[in-house]
Symmetry: C2
Subunit: 371 residues, 2 copies
């Protein structure tokens, strides 16, 4: 049954799109990074997954070139094409957004003492705190530099989109950090609506910025820039929620049984926040399980996942993800978009959100059979 | 004799200028900071010296409102006036530069584990590494936001000045950090010319950016923007070198005998770098004294100061500082500048560089009498 649903049809097209856009953007990203002083350049190139810690080029930097799936750059490029522009016009915007994203990863790992990033030691762990802090600053500076070089009347507006995104990210990161000190149960617990707002800022901001920059730099109307910004933000939220569901019930890379990864770390995600809000009894038990700041055993993480599921946290997060995906589509509804790019956006959005959600359903089904 | 020299005459005028410009810029700086999320806003307001760690307003934030002497904002304002503009036009530029400066201080303290800043615990020490890293990012984002809001055709150029300054700072901070791993003696020792280039970037960049932004935002010609940028960078170098001389031979706040403060910490400054370059024998002895990474005793710091002085390091740094001050003036030579502001710039530059150098001479004279 699952094999005949639309997301499977979308997968080859969406992967093709991601690949095409990654290959369009990556050379410009490397050229920008090459302008950095050699010292932060080494750290930055390591963070992008291009080089080993000693600076030597990596033979197989992974499908995304170490930069993840590439949804942000793809959305910038597709937005440019959809408003009738050339794909190349979006490249500085895509590069700037990737640089900002890399900066927040490097700085967040310093802030949280996160030791691993994409299966390798985090930059601060490999090079030291000082070089990591400086490299994050270098990435931010470079991002602003890249958009300010675009030239023409759109340059100032592009810079304002980036500076607005930087401010939004700070806001989202601040909210998230404050959530950590809130209780899991009772009147001061984080509400799902608050969590959604923070996630919209934290993850939606950069996807919204990428989409808006793509439309802007390709000469799109003010209305289309605005609409792409909104669509990108909502898609970012959908993506984040789908990732959070997959982080609990998704199959790990090596198998098809849920690994409850984010619960092992005690992370506060939408399914957990929603479960706690929906059932105060569950909230108290989740607080005991997850609120201690200690990593959980596998058995306790599995029990927490069951509590969250029974309280309706999983269903709530899945619904919210699908609703965000739908509202992202709605944002683009009034626009007259150019042919193939509009379809590619649809396929991409469906692919990155629905595939994750359905993979979880598959894993759940396998688990049910195994039990 | 010393009382009749020009710098004494300049002092009241220069202090008046600094006060006037600080009072012009500070409200806009606070308004900008008020736009931050409350969490980073607290850390940022603490870093500027406006509030205590608990967020309560400080009764006496010090003469500079905790933001130092205020040479950068003053130079932005004076440049605007000197090209015939209103002082207020420079304010967004002055605010942006102060925000960038504050960001580098907060992040540098995280990077170097510097525990004290302006006589109080550093931001990371008071609030934690995470909030300090995020607050530095918030300051950078806000700086870009402030200049991007200027509007009009000059906005894009103002943003390019700021992004250029951010890149220059990263370059200067990288160079300085790399100097730390170089030997004190031999062919790989840091050369005075290299040190000067790094100091020009590290300290000159922001003063140059402030001056150029002032001229730009007030409607100055491309030539005057360029000239003010150059003059500001050179003044920044002069200021840095004068500070370094004062850090070794200057009188501490409480007395008039040199306290060799920067040598106690083993800091690599122009007098030391120059002494090592001028005399390889001294270089070897300085390496033994300063290269261990341990704080020095007062007696050993005094001995190191004597070595540096005898090798000609002090004289070299003083000459370089005066040469930089002179060349800063030269940069403005061809411009037809508006009356009082041009004189105020002269007085300010003389005051901030010469006063420090002459204070050291006074302290030296007192020391000679005491010995």
């Amino acid at each position: 049954m699952l094999l005949s649903t639309p997301y499977v049809d979308h997968a080859p097209a969406a992967e093709e799109t991601l690949l095409r856009c990654r290959e369009l953007v990556r050379p410009a990203l490397r050229t920008a990074v090459d302008r950095l002083h050699p010292w932060p350049r080494r750290v930055v190139s390591y963070s992008f997954g291009w080089v080993a810690a000693d600076g030597s080029e990596r033979a197989a930097p992974g499908s995304g070139g170490g930069t993840g799936q590439g949804v942000r750059p793809a959305l910038a490029v597709l937005a440019a094409e959809a408003v009738g522009g050339a794909c190349g016009s979006a490249v500085p915007g895509a590069v700037a957004v990737e640089l900002v994203h890399a900066s927040t990863l490097v700085h967040d790992d310093v802030a949280d003492r996160g030791e691993q990033r994409r299966g390798r030691p985090a930059a601060w762990k490999e090079f030291g705190t000082g070089p990591a802090v400086l490299s994050g600053d270098a990435l931010l500076a470079l991002a602003v530099d890249v958009v300010s070089r675009v030239g023409g009347e759109r340059s100032a507006q592009a810079v304002r989109l980036v500076s607005g995104a930087l401010a939004g990210l700070v806001h989202g990161r601040s909210e998230e950090a404050l959530f950590g000190s809130r209780p899991w149960a009772g009147p001061d617990a984080v509400r799902p609506a608050e969590y959604r707002e923070a996630a919209l800022r934290r993850t939606g901001t950069l996807l919204g910025c990428a989409a808006a920059l793509g439309a802007l730099l390709a000469g799109g109307s003010a209305g289309s820039v605005e609409a792409f910004g909104t669509a990108g933000r909502r898609l970012g939220l959908a993506l984040q929620l789908a990732r959070e569901v997959a982080g609990i019930w998704g199959p790990p890379a090596t198998g098809r049984r849920p690994d409850h990864g984010s619960l092992l770390r005690g992370a506060r995600t939408m399914p957990v926040v929603a479960a706690a809000a929906l059932d105060q009894g569950v909230a108290g038990r989740l607080e005991k399980l997850l609120g201690g700041g200690e990593p959980l055993t596998r058995a306790r993480a599995a029990y927490a996942a069951q509590l969250v599921e029974e309280a309706g946290g999983r269903e709530f997060a899945v619904c919210e993800a699908r609703r965000a995906l739908e509202s992202a589509r709605d944002a683009l509804d009034g626009l007259a978009l150019a042919g193939p790019a509009a379809e590619e956006i649809d396929a991409l959005a469906e692919f990155v959100v629905e595939r994750r959600l359905r993979d979880c359903e598959d894993a759940g089904a396998v688990r049910m059979r195994v039990l």
